[in-house]
C-alpha cells in the first residue's frame, strides 16, 4: 500500500498541535501568577492552532480551505496579544503578581517615580486619549 505523504504529514501536524495545546494547558495550571499564565495562553496555543489548521489544509487538499484558514491565522495572531495585554494589565493592577518571583519590576519603579514628581503615572496614559 503506497504511503499518502500529505495524510502522514497532516497526522504529524495534528499531533504536534495537540502536544502544544496540552503544554499550554499545563502551563496555565503550573505557572505561578496571572502574568506568567498569559504567556502559556498566547504562545504554544497559537502555534498549536497553526499546526492544526495546516493539517486541516493538507488533509482537505483544497485551495478554498487554505483561503479560509489564512485569515483565521492572521486574526489569531493579531488578537491574542491584545487579549493577553488586557488580561495581563488587569492582573497586574489587581496585584495578581508573585512579586517574590520577579527579579525586577520597572513598571512599579515608574509608578513610584510618577507619584513622587506628581505627574500622571505612565499607566494612566494608555492610549485611550485619542
Amino acid at each position: 500500500m503506497p504511503v499518502d505523504w500529505s495524510e502522514l504529514l497532516a497526522a504529524i501536524l495534528l499531533l504536534l498541535g495537540a502536544v502544544l495545546a496540552l503544554s499550554a494547558g499545563i502551563g496555565v495550571l503550573r505557572f505561578p501568577d496571572a502574568l506568567s499564565r498569559m504567556h502559556a495562553a498566547t504562545k504554544p496555543q497559537n502555534l498549536g492552532l497553526i499546526a492544526m489548521l495546516a493539517a486541516l489544509v493538507l488533509a482537505s487538499s483544497s485551495w478554498i480551505t487554505l483561503l479560509a484558514v489564512l485569515p483565521v491565522i492572521a486574526l489569531q495572531l493579531i488578537t491574542t496579544p491584545m487579549a493577553a495585554h488586557m488580561l495581563g494589565r488587569a492582573g497586574y493592577r489587581v496585584g495578581s503578581v508573585r512579586q517574590d518571583l520577579l527579579i525586577r519590576d520597572e513598571l512599579e519603579d515608574d509608578i513610584r517615580r510618577a507619584q513622587r514628581t506628581g505627574e500622571s503615572p505612565g499607566r494612566r496614559a494608555s492610549g485611550r486619549d485619542r
Binding site: 499545563i26 502574568l35 495572531l77 496579544p81 495585554h85 518571583l101 527579579i103
Partner: protein, 183 residues
C-alpha cells in the same frame, strides 16, 4: 521603495475607506469560502455596518514600504513565533522549577501609533515577552518577560525589543524615524 501617497486629504480618506471596505468584503468571502453574488452582497452589507458601528480613527501610514526588509521581518517573525512557543512549552513542561520573571521598561524611538502597535504585537508573540502596559505619549512599553534569571537576561530582552523596532522601521517606517533609530 514605493507607496508614497499624494493628493488632498479627503480624497485620500475616501481611498482608505474604500480599501478598508474592500478588505473586509474579501475577508468575509474568504471566511465563508464561497464567492457567489449573494455572498458579495452580504459582505458589503456587513462591511458597511461594521465600519459604521465600530468607527475607528484612520491609521496613519508612514508612506514608505521596503518589500525586501518586510519579507525579512516576516520570515524572522515566523521563526520567532515557533521559538517562542517551544520556549514557553518547555518552561511549562519542566517540572524542576517555577520560572522567574521580570517587568522591563523599553523606550522606543518611534512616534508612530502603527509602529508602536506592531512592535507590541510582535513582542507578545516572540520568545520571552508579553506587553503589560503601553505609554503612548512616551512610546514606552512595559514588557513582562518569563524565564528571566538575571540582569543580563533583562538587558537582552530590552535589546531584542529595540532591535524588533529597528527591523520594523527598516521595513515600513518613515525615513526620519529610521534615521533616528539608526543612531
Amino acid at each position: 521603495m514605493s507607496g508614497v501617497r499624494h493628493g488632498d486629504g479627503s480624497r485620500r480618506g475616501a481611498a482608505h475607506q474604500l480599501l478598508l471596505l474592500g478588505g473586509l468584503v474579501l475577508l468575509w468571502l474568504l471566511l465563508w469560502g464561497s464567492f457567489t453574488p449573494i455572498d458579495v452582497l452580504a459582505g458589503i452589507t456587513v462591511a458597511l455596518l461594521a465600519t459604521r458601528v465600530f468607527e475607528l480613527p484612520p491609521v496613519q501610514l508612514t508612506g514608505r514600504l521596503h518589500v525586501g526588509h518586510l519579507l525579512l521581518y516576516l520570515i524572522r517573525f515566523a521563526g520567532e513565533v515557533v521559538a517562542g512557543s517551544v520556549q514557553v512549552a518547555a518552561l511549562a513542561l519542566d517540572p524542576r522549577r517555577t520560572p522567574r520573571a521580570a517587568i522591563v521598561e523599553v523606550r522606543l524611538t518611534t512616534k508612530s501609533d502603527l509602529i508602536l502597535t506592531l512592535v507590541a504585537v510582535t513582542l507578545s508573540l516572540v520568545p520571552g515577552s508579553l506587553v503589560l502596559e503601553v505609554d503612548r505619549q512616551r512610546s514606552t512599553l512595559f514588557l513582562h518577560a518569563l524565564g528571566v534569571q538575571d540582569g543580563e537576561d533583562v538587558r537582552r530582552i530590552r535589546h531584542h525589543a529595540l532591535d524588533t523596532e529597528y527591523r520594523l522601521l527598516r521595513a515600513i517606517g518613515s525615513r526620519a524615524e529610521l534615521r533616528k533609530a539608526s543612531r
